[in-house]
């Protein structure tokens, strides 16, 4: 297991029933998100109803683990004891053009001081932790 991007000790994601197919997908190295059985559109994050057509028939579908950076931030101030003394890190908001443009939040792997460009192509990296797997992102090419 390679070293995770951020130090251990941050809150672990609760494995809530509504999101289980997503978490099971990440453990298998697949990006699986909600897809509406009524109108066929993808939706994120986990929800009980389709925001478009009001169908409760929200299934799950594997989507291409590729996206574009929609926005970003480089926090310096530690917001959690686990981050004290860690230094700056990168958070990106990634848009998935292959899944109706839903967006996901993750860290951008690599040098935390690298220049970040909105629109840059990224791909998912599955980062295993004790009991769950996080979806991280790295620049393509």
């Amino acid at each position: 297991m390679s070293k995770p991007y951020l130090p251990e000790g941050l809150p672990a994601p609760a494995q809530e029933p509504i999101a289980l197919p997503y978490w099971e997908g990440t453990r298998a190295g697949r990006l699986v998100i909600q897809k509406c059985g009524g109108c066929g559109k993808h939706q994120w994050g986990p929800e009980w109803v389709c925001h478009r057509c009001h169908s409760f028939d929200l299934g799950w579908a594997e989507v291409a683990p590729r996206g574009r950076i929609y926005s970003w931030q480089r926090p310096h101030h530690p917001v959690h004891p686990a981050l004290d003394g860690h230094g700056p890190y990168l958070i990106v908001l990634v848009e998935l053009p292959g899944a109706d443009g839903v967006r996901m939040v993750g860290n951008l792997l690599g040098d935390p001081m690298q220049e970040v460009t909105i629109g840059a192509e990224v791909e998912a990296v599955f980062e295993p932790h004790d009991g769950y797997t996080l979806v991280q992102w790295r620049l393509v090419g």
Partner: protein
Amino acid sequence: MSERTLRGRVAIAGIGETTYYKHGRSPDAEFKLALEAILHACRDAGIDPREVDGFASYGGDRSDGPRLAAALGIHELRFSNMHWGGGGGGVAAAVANAGAAVHAGMAHCVIAFRSLAQGQFARYGRGAQAAAASGDDAFLAPYGLMSPAQRFAMKITRFMTEHGIRHEALRAIALTSYFHAQTNPRAVMRGRPLDAAKYEDSRWIIEPFHRLFDCCMENDGAAAVLVVPAERARDMPHRPAYLLGAAQGGHHRSAAPVHNAPDYASAHFPTVARNLWSMAQLGPKDVDVLQAYENFTGGVLLGMIEHGMVSAEEANEFMVPENLRFDTGRLPLNTSGGNLAECYMHGLELVNEAVRQLRGTAPNQVRDPKVAMVIGGPMVTPVSSLILGTEETL
């Protein structure tokens, strides 16, 4: 059928606040602070506090109305109201909710207030210390995204980048608040002036647009306003500040989970601003003094743009301190020092300042203002804003 509006129907007749403290420095408990601010607002309006018959607040205020009603021995409680949503997004909504209750005859004399003692309770700038994150946070906290600044930062990055707005536009907002605080005896940052060099030297909270001075303080204190029918306000000691317009809410799916709002790079005012201007029967050019909630300077700019006070295209040129000062400004902004430098009272201090400006009693008094506007906490959902006016604007 009479027109459905609050325009000119109710007024703020009393304002009050406690001493403002640095966070954790209040010698008093949060509930006591709330009581003090409310008693001051009643004294300012010249009424017996037992006459108050309603309370409206927001941001999950812990000093609940029924408990206040008991402590103040009020004769009868007719209206208790908590506005959904975190932070200061609900500041104008709380005043409007008080006004709506008064106008609808559900109550006669309603306090809108906010009390905060962050020494007694937790601070905002650190994430929750729980071992597991659930709901939206399950997809945010494990990536180190926990604080309010972080929740909003990517909206600012996207908007500023898309429109080519430079950080100096945000710096001007911080400099203006600190400038105004230096002559405001209530301001926590009085005696702590800020200049461009000190701003530029300040540490990063979050790149690329949040230096230390772009972020609000956290403070202890309380503030309150008393809302009564317009005709009653005319018989009270101070010049009434009439509510000309108020709106709250958010645009299409602005609260969509995990940063999925379709119109993302927004402070969430597009529809709220439209409804505000419509009720007030005014436009951006009519505003003489603006109090815009600074959680972060980027939110102030977005809120101003979405209310039409400045366009994204002219932001680099317009957003300089000279245009925002009480004495030289084309649009005087945050004339008390606001959340950045007077006190982070979740924006209620901005309402009090708007009333003082219309009364002519502000420390940094704008010359003869008729219309004062308050923009509540940008980028949360729901947000809210309001417009107050003097007698001649009715």
